[in-house]
């Protein structure tokens, strides 16, 4: 185990150097996890995870159900704090800042790390208010005109503007499933985060809506660090540049998506992507 993580980070550095010209100006690792363990009560859900996630790109977490990929994702914006029995050890840094440090304000962390959930969860408010919610609670805009701009540009970035621009005051819950999910993405973008976490964002959507969301993810990666948990290996292959494979609470292998799907080093990864389990 120890061996493989050392290997991985070495490979990662090579990879980062190789793609440096693509991500010029960005730091090589946006999110850095060192020896992260998560316990739900007595259950050891995540075991000694080490990973570096580069900025400006899409990182996919794949693995069978219950392998800890969502748990790890929820560590990155400390959503696990809302679960009373959950305990996290180890170190996660974003831009070299320890996010589990006592001095860190979790509210500010979450303003920098947006999240999109498995099931679209628009607030039972108007479309406009859904998007305006984040900027409003963080006081990002000074007046109505600025807010209008933020709402419009967020909806445009989420490729939803043209569909809803004439009914911004309608309820967000009245949209179709795919539109709701893109609304949730717009809502996350509106606070201008660095990182967007997506927890199986397409699992509740039909194929057409899925395609739209995937196209959107592909467009967003030039501006954000996107981390996506997915059950669908095809989706990981389509949208991500790097992929991490989780199995039974451990991070088995992390590499460029191409390598993971064409030439994985670990037998378990090989078995999973060829459909032998999971």
């Amino acid at each position: 185990m120890e061996n493989s993580t050392v290997d991985l980070s070495a490979i990662e550095r090579v990879e980062a150097a190789r793609t440096a010209h693509l991500t010029a100006g960005a730091k090589p690792a946006k999110v850095l996890a060192r020896d992260v363990n998560v316990y739900y009560g007595d259950k050891h859900a995540l075991k000694a995870v080490n990973v570096e996630i580069p900025d400006r790109g899409v990182m996919a977490f794949i693995g069978p159900s219950g392998c800890g990929k969502s748990t790890f994702l929820r560590c990155i914006n400390r959503m696990n704090d809302t679960i009373a029995s959950c305990r996290v050890t180890g170190k996660i840094t974003i831009d070299d800042q320890d996010i589990y440090d006592r001095s860190l304000d979790v509210v500010q962390l979450r303003a920098r790390v947006g999240m999109v959930f498995q099931k679209p969860n628009p607030f039972p408010k108007s479309i406009y208010e859904n998007v305006a919610y984040g900027p409003r609670i963080h006081g990002l805009t000074a007046n109505k005109a600025e807010m209008d701009d933020v709402v419009q540009s967020s909806l445009e970035k989420a490729a939803l503007w043209n569909e809803v621009k004439d009914r911004l005051q309608d309820s967000g819950t009245g949209l179709s499933g795919g539109q709701q999910q893109r609304l949730c993405i717009a809502r996350a973008i509106a606070v201008n985060p660095d990182i967007i976490l997506m927890d199986e964002p397409c699992s509740a959507l039909d194929p057409i809506a899925t395609a739209k969301v995937e196209t959107l993810i592909d467009e967003l990666r030039s501006n954000f660090c996107i981390i996506i948990v997915t059950h669908s290996m095809q989706q990981a292959a389509r949208v991500s540049q790097r992929t991490a494979f989780f199995h039974l609470g451990t991070l088995v292998e992390e590499d460029s998506t191409k390598t993971i799907f064409s030439n994985p080093k670990d037998q378990r990864t090989q078995d999973y992507i060829t459909g032998r389990f999971g």
């Binding site: 303003a111 969860n121 919610y133 606070v191 976490l197």
Partner: protein, 462 residues
């Protein structure tokens, strides 16, 4: 006789089930494919026994009783029979004697009448029993004949169930209609019956500012001026309700927020039942708490501040009533807040909302329809509450908005008017029905408003 009838009913029900299901089992063992399971054949047989027997009993018993009574009364002279009051008292004596509950001298006429009554009763009861038994046996025979492979006992039993459910729902609806109709009839008499002395006009009732329902019972009492102005009662009711809602609204809602969002599961497990016990305290207990503890305290406190406080004050009644309705608000609001999906909270947290922001801006708006209906329910409870106000607010119909004065409410006046001996053709008694009708109307309006609000937000939020 009733005992015999129902014992027979029970035995026949049991045997109908056993016979019909056995027969269908026997049939299927000969290789016939049954459409319905044996239990359904049995249940259908049961309904063919129970329904006719209960119907015969429900229709027959009053008929028998009435027939026996009218035959017994033939022993009395015609003038007794034709006077409703005398006939009624004679009938009571007959029944008491027949039941062996009458002591003292018994006249021959009465003795003879009681014997006639008992004889007719016995005959009638036996007749009823035999008709019932015959119907039940017919039912069993019919259900046994019906048992066959293709017979759809399951579907038929399903329609029996539907009719039973419909009948139960019908009872509730008909009762409501009946209550409204009876109150409405008396209210119309109160306003428009020319035989009622001292009745007010509709306008005087609705807008009059003086309430004094006294009436001369005897000629020597002179002419007491009575007044039926409804306004002081309305203001009293609204004043006390407003005080109660001022107490219960914030306390109930805030404790609901604590229970639903902040309390640990352990805390919630203990705190919620304790809060609900408050709803189970009999209002008469709360009433004397209000009258004997809270009211003197308020009076003492008012006097210390140099205020003029009546010993029975709207404030005391309102405060205690507020305590009473806290659980309605807190428990229901807690339930609806718990029903708000966790994903909405997660969505707010993920955007960097603090806990109180998430509650204020996401959970409460999403739970608003339920919270509004909780408030409305609490308010109708407060408006309809009687015992606390009787004991703590007094009877003086003062037209005032000062919470330190004694006021009276619609419910208190209804109770005051109807307690004790009443003559049914006086304006005083009928005024209670008019008040009841107005009270019903107010709560109806409140409910309609609540439904409107709930529907409006439902449309927006779901």
């Amino acid at each position: 006789m009733t005992v015999v009838y129902f014992t027979a009913l029970a035995l026949l029900t049991l045997s109908a089930y056993v016979l019909a299901s056995r027969r269908s089992v026997a049939l299927s063992s000969t290789g016939v494919r049954l459409h319905s399971l044996p239990a359904y054949h049995g249940l259908l047989a049961i309904s063919l026994v129970i329904v006719p027997m209960l119907l015969i009993w429900a229709v027959g018993t009053p008929l028998v009783s009435q027939f026996a009574a009218s035959n017994a009364l033939t022993n009395f002279p015609a003038e007794t029979r034709n006077d409703a009051l005398q006939a009624g008292s004679a009938l009571r004596e007959i029944k008491n004697l027949a039941a062996g509950q009458r002591s003292g001298d018994v006249s021959d006429t009465l003795r003879a009448a009681a014997d006639t009554y008992s004889a007719w009763r016995t005959t009638g009861d036996y007749l009823l029993l035999s008709i019932g038994l015959a119907a039940a046996l017919l039912g069993i025979a019919a259900s046994l004949r019906l048992v066959s492979g293709p017979f759809r006992a399951r579907n038929h039993f399903e329609s029996v169930v539907r009719v039973i459910l419909l009948a139960c729902a019908g009872v509730a609806v008909l009762t409501t209609i009946g209550i409204v109709a009876s109150v409405l009839t008396e209210t119309i008499r109160f306003f428009f019956d020319p035989n009622i002395k001292g009745r007010p006009g509709v306008f005087d009732f609705l807008f009059g500012t003086e309430w004094n329902p006294q009436q001369a019972m005897r000629a020597d009492q002179g002419d007491i001026k009575s007044a039926y102005g409804f306004v002081p009662l309305l203001t009293g009711t609204l004043l006390i309700t407003a005080i109660a809602m001022c107490v219960a609204g914030p306390l109930g809602l805030l404790s609901a927020i604590y229970l639903a969002e902040y309390a640990s599961p352990r805390m919630r497990r203990y705190a919620k039942p304790v809060l609900e016990i408050l709803a189970g305290v009999p209002t008469v207990v709360l009433g004397f708490f209000a009258a004997l503890t809270v009211a003197p305290y308020i009076r003492g406190w008012g006097e210390a501040l140099g205020l003029d406080v009546a010993s029975e004050s709207a404030l005391a009644a309102g405060l205690v009533m507020g305590m009473m309705i806290i659980p309605f608000i807190s428990s229901l609001s807690d339930d609806v807040m718990n029903a708000v999906p966790q994903s909405l909270r997660d969505g707010a947290y993920a955007l960097g909302a603090t806990k109180s922001e998430a509650i204020k801006q996401v959970v409460l708006p999403a739970a608003l329809p339920g919270i509004v209906s909780a408030f409305m329910l609490a308010m109708s409870r407060a408006i309809g509450e009687t015992m606390i106000v009787v004991m703590a607010a007094g009877l003086a119909a003062n037209l005032t908005l000062n919470p330190l004065d004694a006021v009276t409410t619609i419910t208190v006046q209804i109770k005051t008017i109807l307690v004790g001996d009443q003559e049914f053709d006086s304006a005083k008694t009928l005024a209670a029905f008019a008040l009841g009708f107005v009270l019903f109307f107010i709560t109806l309006i409140l409910n309609i408003i609540a439904l409107r609000i709930v529907r409006k937000y439902r449309e927006q939020y779901d």
